[in-house]
């Protein structure tokens, strides 16, 4: 216990990409203080550079931006930009870390990111954020939505820094006096209990090796550059034009596996996992941008193994008309002088083909650059031969060094959802490790007593911000001030050079107190970035934080009407009048708190359920673990080795032991869920056991880990021919050294049995690797055996590729087949005949097999439907649970407080199931670690004076937050009224938009407020 107590409740997360951000947010929300160190000037990482994300084609920036902002505002996350890890000492639980911070030359507290400096800066350089496709100034903002939203000077390009006295224009124009040329490198020494390494990746650079003429032919670009060309904020504002001559692109080709699966030219043997989907997305989006665009993807295997990916692939192929060509291109050459490119390849019919393209996109892979390898060395963790952080499949986020965790692409190539899952998983692992120190380092703010202003007539104070010259340079702020003073209820008007500056906050506080102001209007920039700041100021002044309204006279006025000061001034007056009208109807809102039952419920006792339960228990939470059968372990009991060769039965047995002895875990075996009530923080679930006895447990969160099952094939003679077996059956026979296996000389594996067909358009993800492992084993036992794998696309993604390579080296024969030409399996009673068309030899093939092994699909459990109904969490069309967001909320369900992990979510291998289970635990811990949660007060409020329970709003609510209540009131007749569950309500206002009688409205955005705002806009 003495040792335990020495653990420190703060954590360093290295890397401010989406993975690090997720880890930081989950840790901060679970009671740990986080130092988030980021090498560049702003967090966001590679995702912030993407245009769209697969498979939903969501705008990448739109979905990551809220996370960035959340990170920037979290009291318990300290973002340190331009910083790198420089040294580490101490032991797990109590590390001393030194961090080197490069000078920014711009004062973070003073810069208001108005952009004047960059406008005036004379030095123009290529922009790394745009992957070199565009240019920026020597003083620059990494990207428009950057967090922190502050400029920085690039010392290597700045004229003034290189030769003092030669420029300094930025300093002259900066109204906020934020430029500091004397800034120097700083060293910080920090004490942390654990580290999470999430530095990400570097895209493969095809230039040094001159791959396909990259660097020589301007129209050969990387996939990352394509993202920037397609982005509305990119150098061409989304117009797809040839870099060579700006001509519109009519034909585009994608070449896969550049810097992946290629040891000869690129020195990278692994598969980067994401490039197939990225190329399909690139082609699909490009086709959207350019009607009639011809897009072709040249590939070896189409690896679309993730959730929803195969459907995305099929849509691109069949609906959008993207052409997929299975081959390796053997030449990209310029055709003529105008930038056209000629591609040469041998097609599937064996003919040499030449095609011409305007643009060739290299789908570059992911890799770990030298500086990250140095960091790994510095910290002292082991790396894999492919240069990714080495981890175990059963603890996929723990490095070889105790107290140091990892996640994201640094721990192996992977897509965003899997990275986000690992970010959360790392948070869970850290939280388990530092459990005794939870809450020790977190910060909380305290506020003065709030003054009661209900019933007072409006005493509105208006503060008009000059924003240096950003507003005052165009808008006649004196005229606005004069006008504002004439508005009803306004008792105080004041102008400020910077309304957001530290000293102005004190000015506001004094004015509120001295003048007895009860409503505040700030005419400045956007509420989306500054509302929280002014709310805090109101709280500090003892005024309810919701009594402020912001008139956006900068972003929506001065910045967009530069040539028209008169109109801009008139519009500013309008916006102030509208804000005054809206705030007049505001009432103080009390924060909503929901008590939390600090217990969890995990449904499913397989690998994912066991892992999640144990992780929660190790964080100190009581967990009810519900298992349908009388045996723990689930599908993992059928497995022998993970892809890295770890022994599954031993690891699972150990895990079960730890679960059984953990005093925080209450096991309910042979039990199912039969009823559910409540919501996040307060669920009541009824459990029914095999004897028919029911009991109700209370819990704050729930994790669904009900797994899946193997598909029972109808095809390939499975039901009629004795030696046609599924892969799991084969494993058992193999294990038992069954005679036919032992003596067998010819084995045929058939892939995609029940997967990727019309009925189940998804990849079962594990079967390729599984068959390859079995094939290797068969060959190892007896190299004279003939082992064939009949596949559609070999999907040994990531570092699994080494198994595929090994199998080929050992002589396993891989034969490709297509969906329309499935193999035929027949038997004459003695041997089994497998017939199919060979695409390389272009002739039919007959294989005499002793045994045929079917890689049968993983399908969803039928009882998922019941749970889905009870907890109101939707299933997708294949019966797997639907996550809240495919990209950024991959373990959360749409019902708050419910999470999903393992195969119940989608077929996945051991390491990914474990990671997702840990992630679910981390997400759950952000709720369970509090006694109560405080929610934003912008929620639906029912007005009993108007609501009559007509029920129009009930089914309109996307969160099932509205229920009809019948209450016996005065007299005999019952009164009907709807009630809103505040914990479930998200404040979207769909109810308000539906109600014909003002029965329900969103606090802060009531229909009357919006109406008055509109009417105010139309006055004058």
């Amino acid at each position: 216990m003495i040792l335990e107590s020495r653990k420190i409740g703060s954590v360093m997360v290295v890397g401010g990409g989406v993975t690090g951000i997720q880890a930081a947010l989950d840790l901060a929300d679970a009671g740990y203080f986080v130092y988030l160190i980021e090498k560049s000037g702003a967090i966001g990482g590679a995702m912030a550079q993407l245009d769209k994300t697969f498979p939903t084609n969501d705008c990448a920036m739109c979905i990551i931006a809220p996370k960035l902002v959340e990170c920037g505002r979290n009291l318990n996350i300290r973002i340190m930009t331009l910083s790198e890890l420089a040294g580490i000492s101490g032991t797990a639980g109590n590390f001393t870390v030194t961090v080197k911070e490069q000078p920014r030359f711009v004062d973070l507290d003073k810069c208001i990111s108005c952009g004047l400096c960059a406008e005036k800066c004379p030095k123009n350089v290529p922009d790394a954020y745009n992957a070199g496709t565009g240019r920026r100034k020597a003083i620059f903002l990494k990207y428009p939505q950057a967090v922190p939203l502050k400029y920085q000077i690039d010392a290597e390009s700045c004229l003034q820094l290189k030769r003092p006295g030669s420029c300094g224009l930025c300093e002259t124009v900066c109204d906020a006096a934020a430029i500091n040329f004397a800034d120097t490198e700083k060293t910080h020494t920090l004490s942390v209990g654990a580290l999470v390494l999430a530095p990400g990746f570097e895209p493969f650079d095809p230039e040094p090796a001159g791959i396909w003429g990259f660097g020589k032919f301007p129209n050969v670009i990387t996939s990352l550059q394509l993202e920037r060309y397609l982005s509305a904020t990119g150098p061409t504002e989304g117009n797809l034009a040839r870099p060579s001559d700006g001509k519109p692109v009519r034909r585009i080709a994608f070449l896969q596996c550049v810097g992946s699966r290629d040891e000869n030219k690129c020195g990278k043997g692994y598969c980067s996992s994401i490039c197939c989907m990225a190329a399909i997305k690139g082609a699909s989006v490009a086709k959207e941008h350019v009607p009639g665009l011809a897009a072709a993807i040249f590939y070896m295997d189409m690896r679309t193994h993730g959730k929803g990916f195969d459907q995305y692939y099929e849509k691109a192929k069949n609906e959008l008309g993207v052409r997929f060509v299975r081959c390796r291109v053997h030449g990209v050459e310029p055709q003529g002088k105008n930038g056209d490119l000629r591609l040469r390849y041998i097609n599937e019919q064996g003919r040499q083909v030449e095609e011409y393209y305007d643009m060739v996109v290299l789908s570059v892979g992911l890799g770990t650059p030298a500086n990250m390898l140095d960091m790994a060395d510095l910290v002292g963790i082991q790396m894999t031969p492919s240069n990714f952080a080495a981890t175990s499949d059963f603890s996929p986020v723990a490095t070889s060094k105790e107290g140091v965790f990892t996640c994201g692409t640094f721990a192996g190539p992977k897509d965003i959802p899997q990275s986000v899952i690992e970010g959360s998983a790392a948070a869970a692992a850290v939280a388990g490790f530092l459990a005794p120190a939870r809450g020790e380092m977190v910060r909380k703010l305290s506020w003065p007593q709030e003054r009661e202003v209900r019933g007072e007539p409006a005493r509105t104070g208006i503060f008009i911000c000059h924003c240096g010259s950003n507003i005052a340079g165009l808008i006649d702020v004196v005229a606005v001030e004069r006008y504002a003073a004439t508005l009803a209820g306004v008792v105080h008007v004041q102008r400020n050079i910077f309304a957001c500056s530290e000293d102005t906050q004190q000015v506001l506080i004094n004015a509120i107190r001295e003048k007895g102001l009860n409503r505040i209007v700030i005419a400045a920039c956007t509420p989306r970035t500054h509302e929280y700041l002014f709310r805090a100021t109101l709280r500090a002044a003892g005024l309810n934080e919701y009594m402020v309204e912001i008139a956006n006279i900068r972003n929506h006025t001065s910045w967009v009407h530069p040539g028209n000061p008169q109109a801009a001034t008139a519009k500013a007056c309008d916006l102030v009048r509208m804000a005054v009208a809206k705030i007049a109807l505001s009432v103080p809102l009390a924060p909503i708190t929901v008590p939390i039952i600090q217990k969890g419920l995990v449904i499913g006792g397989g690998l994912a359920g066991l892992t999640a339960a144990l992780s929660l228990a190790e964080q100190g939470f009581t967990v009810h673990l519900v298992e349908k059968t009388n045996r723990l372990g689930g599908n993992s009991l059928n497995l022998k080795h993970t892809y890295t060769g770890e022994h599954v039965p031993m690891k699972v047995a150990k895990l079960i032991d730890r679960v059984l002895v953990n005093e925080h875990i209450i096991l309910h075996s042979e039990t199912v869920v039969s009823g559910v009530e409540g919501h996040v923080g307060n669920f009541k679930t009824t459990l029914k056991n095999a004897n028919g006895r029911s009991r109700t447990v209370e819990h704050g969160i729930g994790i669904v880990a009900t797994g899946g099952k193997i598909y029972a094939p109808d095809e390939y003679g499975y039901k009629t021919i004795q030696r046609v077996v599924t892969s799991l059956e084969f494993d058992k026979l193999h294990d038992l050294k069954e005679t036919h296996v032992k003596r067998g000389k010819s084995f045929v594996f058939i892939q995609c049995v029940g997967s990727r067909d019309e009925e189940r358009m998804y990849c079962s993800k594990v079967c390729c690797t599984h068959s390859v492992q079995s094939a290797i084993e068969l060959k190892r036992e007896d190299s004279s055996r003939n082992v064939y794998i009949l596949y559609r696309d070999m999907r040994t993604y990531g570092e699994r590729e080494s198994l595929y390579k090994k199998a080929r080296q050992m002589g396993v024969v891989f034969i490709n087949y297509e969906l329309h030409g499935k193999p035929r399996v027949t038997s004459n009673g003695k041997s089994i005949d497998v017939e199919l068309w060979d695409h390389v030899l272009h002739r039919p093939l007959l294989i005499k097999a002793d045994m045929v092994i079917l890689a049968a699909a993983i399908v969803a459990n039928r009882d998922a439907e019941n749970l889905a109904r009870l907890y109101k969490i939707p299933l997708e069309q294949n019966g797997f649970f639907q996550e809240a967001h495919a990209k950024l909320r991959p373990v959360d369900c749409t019902t708050d407080g419910m999470f999903v992990a393992g195969i119940a979510h989608y077929p996945k291998p051991v390491d990914e199931s474990v990671a997702q289970a840990l992630a679910a635990s981390a997400r759950a811990a952000t709720i369970l670690s509090r006694q109560e949660v405080t929610l934003d007060a912008i929620k639906a409020i029912v007005d009993p004076a108007f609501c009559d329970g007509c029920g129009l709003c009930i089914d309109v609510c996307p969160y099932h937050a509205i229920t009809l209540l019948e209450k016996a009131a005065k007299g005999a007749q019952a009164v009907k009224i709807v009630v809103v569950n505040e914990a479930q309500c998200k404040g979207c206002g769909l109810c308000q938009g539906t109600c014909p009688k003002r029965g329900v409205s969103i606090a802060g955005f009531t229909l009357d407020q919006l109406r008055d705002q509109v009417r105010a806009a139309l006055q004058a």
């Binding site: 970035t529 900068r554 912008i938 979207c988 769909l990 938009g993 109600c995």
Partner: protein, 139 residues
């Protein structure tokens, strides 16, 4: 000076309002005739607000939400779309030209698209002229 239309634009906090912010940051220009009303979701806008605006002197009303499938609240924009079809038909019943109302989708990173929507609407309304409140449909 000629006719300057007054246009009310209900902008969703998560997409079009943010795009309007970004239009500012990117110094993209658009007509000064638009007044933005910030709402949490395009599905929050009660049709009554559209009619109220037109009857109080707005010459055009816009509702701008997230792209379909990208709603911050699952399907609020689909509700807005269903209402919108209805509003478009009812405007005729109520005597307003239905071109005075528009619904569009803009993500938070598409300031150009937003500016284009504002510009197009302003030009469209400018051609139509003001609402005749006595006789909205020009009867």
């Amino acid at each position: 000076m000629g006719f300057e239309p007054k246009i009310i634009a209900f902008c969703c906090n998560w997409c079009s309002y943010a795009a309007a912010d970004l239009a500012g940051t990117s110094r993209i220009q658009y007509p000064h005739n638009v007044r933005i009303i910030r709402v949490m979701c395009s599905g929050m806008v009660h049709p009554e607000l559209v009619l109220d605006a037109l009857s109080h002197g707005a010459d055009g009303v816009m509702v701008i939400g997230c792209h379909l499938g990208e709603c911050h609240y699952q399907d609020g924009n689909h509700k807005a779309l269903a209402r919108s079809d209805m509003i478009t038909e009812l405007l005729d019943d109520m005597g307003y030209e239905n071109e005075r109302y528009s619904i569009s989708w803009v993500s938070s990173s598409e300031p150009d698209r937003l500016a284009r929507a504002f510009t197009n609407m302003t030009e469209r309304i400018r051609k139509m002229g003001p609402v005749d409140l006595q006789n909205p449909a020009g009867q």
